[in-house]
Amino acid sequence: MTDTTENTTDSADGATGGDTAATDTPSTGTAGTGAPAGDGSRAPSRRALIGWGGAGLALGAAVAGGAVAVARPGEDTGDTVTAAGGPIAFHGTHQAGIATPVQDRLHFAAFDVETDDREAFVAMLKDWTEAARRMTAGKAVGDGAYGGLAEAPPDDTGEALGLKPSRLTLTLGFGPSLFERFGLAKQRPEALVDLPQFAGDNLDRARSGGDLCVQACADDPQVAVHAIRNLARIGFGKVSVRWSQLGFGKTSSTTPEAQTPRNLMGFKDGTRNIAGTETARLKKHVWVDEKDGPSWMAGGSYLVARRIRMHIEPWDRTSLQEQEDIFGRDKGEGAPVGKAKERDKPFLKAMKPDAHVRLAHPDSNDGATILRRGYSFTDGTDGLGRLDAGLFFLAYQRDVRKGFIPIQRNLATDALNEYIQHVGSAIFAVPPGVRDADDWWGRALFSSTTEG
């Protein structure tokens, strides 16, 4: 389950060209996703960027993009700025932070609504949108962190001053419990189901659920934390943080030219994740279509968040052979059993029946495919001398009933289950993107209903 996403090695894999598919199709890069800031109008505003020359930017891009990017440098200026810590466009058809190339760091927060006042809640969503618009562009919230009235606390908390925009994305979602409020019951999407109890779940209520969520991803952890902190501050009295999770290392990639990052078990996982450039797969598996309904969700997606604790110490005492058998891959390259390269098409029958890749693969799940965006976490130790660590699993999909749920059910017999435990769980309807300066998070939802 760490990797429900083996599944992403779906049929499209073959279509892009068999064995070396991913590495062959690199460098449309991220330009086509709509996520990165291709528009020159949105100049990065944090001071640190000023004075960077073009050469510096290109170099930054090469480092960030890995070998493939080096081979084709400077192909897309907008993209290279982004790679160097620049901004990601906030406005778009879809929210940024889903198909966007995965950033290095995460701060994820789930909120509960405290107010019964629909107007006050809508006003907060508008304030959040404005703050997000500014922060993702590398600007301070409101009137900034200094220079205002000496008698008042500054609007912005200040710790991101002087830092680059760092490709910050802020992605908002609505939990099932929100629809019990504000007369929204009829607008609850059918696909926003309450997740069933899965085998082995040991969920902590305090780390599960939530009326709202915000996923903050950035290449600089302080930029991500700053964003959540400032949104929480704006929200006081209207919403309160229910739980939050920091993630320090991405465990998946939506850029096919990049190597798949390793999880804390030391394995590559989800090697054939949906890429930000794969418009057809995104449309098929990730974005909610207009005909799916409800209309306010068109262009949105559904997010499943699971806090998966890993039993790190027992895992580390497991023999290499067993580790590789459990995953169905070799540890060094990450290649499926009997194959040479990490993105080679796996031959499932060569694996043990309870191997993780075999069970999570789309071929074992009627083609079910999700977009993974998880992060490794370590929240210190647990008082018994064990790391409190694991995978904060994030998966986006068009319909969880055809995505996460069947895959997770199929993982009931996963050999990996001996070493992991799901301890937190949440599901959110992620509305479409904020279109322009007059639009705001949730407008379509709240405009389509009235109180009552």
Binding site: E114, L149, E151, A152, P153, F236, G237, S240
Partner: protein, 383 residues
């Protein structure tokens, strides 16, 4: 409880900074223009002039009444510029001060009681201090009175507590403990501005400085709290501590009127009271043995609300949205707190160790919901 905050500054500092030193040392004798004859009787307070040049001022006081009197030169918000007490019938006294241009009051207090008989006077000259909204002066004056009243009313309650301790009556002392703290908790930011009092009366064991011995150097309410609830017995040392607590709080009562209070410090003090709640009470750290945290909690909120009410008229003009939100959040928090006491007029709250984690969360959320807009009050007042 916490380290000294700066919202309120004690009189000693401000007088020097703002108005120069007062007192009767004759630095340079005031020019004829700067001398004001003050004739005090039992019913009148006559001044020879109502306008005088800013700078060195001398009040030539004569008590023609039958009672001992006091004469004050006051700022419009009742802060003392200078004063002379114990002026006997038929005697004369002089008092001098350096004053900036602006409005002042001279007050005579026959019998040394009450607000006194007052005369408005003006120091003329350039560089006149911008005149403050008179409603804010009134707010500060009212708050000053509130702070003094809280101290005055605390003393007898502390004596009840101290007597019970000295009688060795653990149950009676436990009962008197929380009520004796209410006045202090309501005005804590002002009380804390006297840096030396707070560490004597309200420090917790974890607040002791390095090298301080908890058995020898720890004094005040929380030391007695530990004896009563944790040790469950009272010793001779506790009797000494009880006497010391009364003495230190009488010192507070005498000095608290001299704290500099401004509209801004009132607003920030209100916010600090909520900070006290957020960092000490919601967590149950403040009253770790007695678990009477909710009494302190309520008193902190009441003190904050008093400042807010006094400043509200001006704040509502400058930022009506803010006062609307503050009204709402004060009500919400008070409503929530009421769930933890049967008698809405009393201070008999549920013991905090009986308040579950989920409920503590709710209290914390309500405090945050109020404290965030409250942090905007100072700006709304000075806009």
């Amino acid at each position: 409880m916490r380290p000294l905050r700066l919202s309120f500054v004690t009189a000693a500092t401000t007088v020097a900074a703002l108005t120069a030193v007062t007192g009767c040392t004759e630095k340079s004798s005031a020019g004829a223009d700067g001398v004001i004859a003050v004739t005090a009787t039992d019913t009148k307070c006559e001044v020879s002039k109502k306008e005088f040049p800013a700078g060195h001022v001398e009040l030539d006081i004569e008590n023609k009444g039958s009672k001992v009197t006091e004469v004050y030169l006051l700022f419009p918000d009742d802060r003392v510029v200078t004063e002379r007490e114990n002026i006997g019938p038929g005697t004369k006294q002089k008092v001098t001060a350096e004053v900036k241009a602006g409005d002042y009051r001279i007050a005579c207090k026959p019998g040394m009681k009450g607000d006194g008989i007052r005369q408005d006077v003006t120091a003329t000259g350039s560089g006149k201090v911008a005149k403050r909204d008179p409603r804010l002066d009134e707010a500060v004056a009212s708050y000053r009175k509130y702070v003094q009243t809280q101290a005055d009313e605390t003393i007898p309650l502390v004596k009840v507590f101290a007597d019970a301790v000295k009688d060795g009556d653990v149950e009676a002392a436990k009962k008197a403990y929380a009520p004796s703290r209410i006045g202090w908790e309501r005005t804590e930011p002002v009380a804390e501005s006297f840096g030396d009092i707070d560490p004597k009366v309200d420090v917790r064991e974890d607040g002791l400085e390095e090298g301080q011995d908890p058995e020898k150097d720890w004094t005040g309410w929380h030391r007695l709290e530990r004896s009563l609830w944790k040790d469950g017995k009272l010793t001779d040392r506790d009797s000494e501590l009880a006497d010391q607590l009364v003495k230190d709080l009488v010192d507070w009562q005498k000095r608290v009127g001299k704290a500099e209070i401004t509209p801004t410090s009132m607003a920030n003090g209100a916010k600090e009271l909520l900070d006290e709640v957020a960092t000490g009470k919601v967590t149950g750290e403040e009253e770790r043995y007695s678990h009477t945290d909710l009494v302190d909690f309520k008193a902190n909120v009441e003190g904050a609300e008093e400042s807010y009410k006094l400043l509200k008229a001006v704040a509502a003009e400058n930022d009506p949205e803010l006062t609307k939100e503050l009204d709402k959040q004060f009500t919400a928090l008070n409503t929530l707190l009421d769930k933890y006491r049967a008698d809405k007029t009393g201070y008999d709250f549920v013991s905090y160790d009986k308040v579950g984690e989920a409920e503590q969360n709710k209290l914390s959320d309500a405090v945050n919901a109020l404290a965030e807009p409250l942090s905007q009050l100072a700006a709304a007042v000075v806009k």
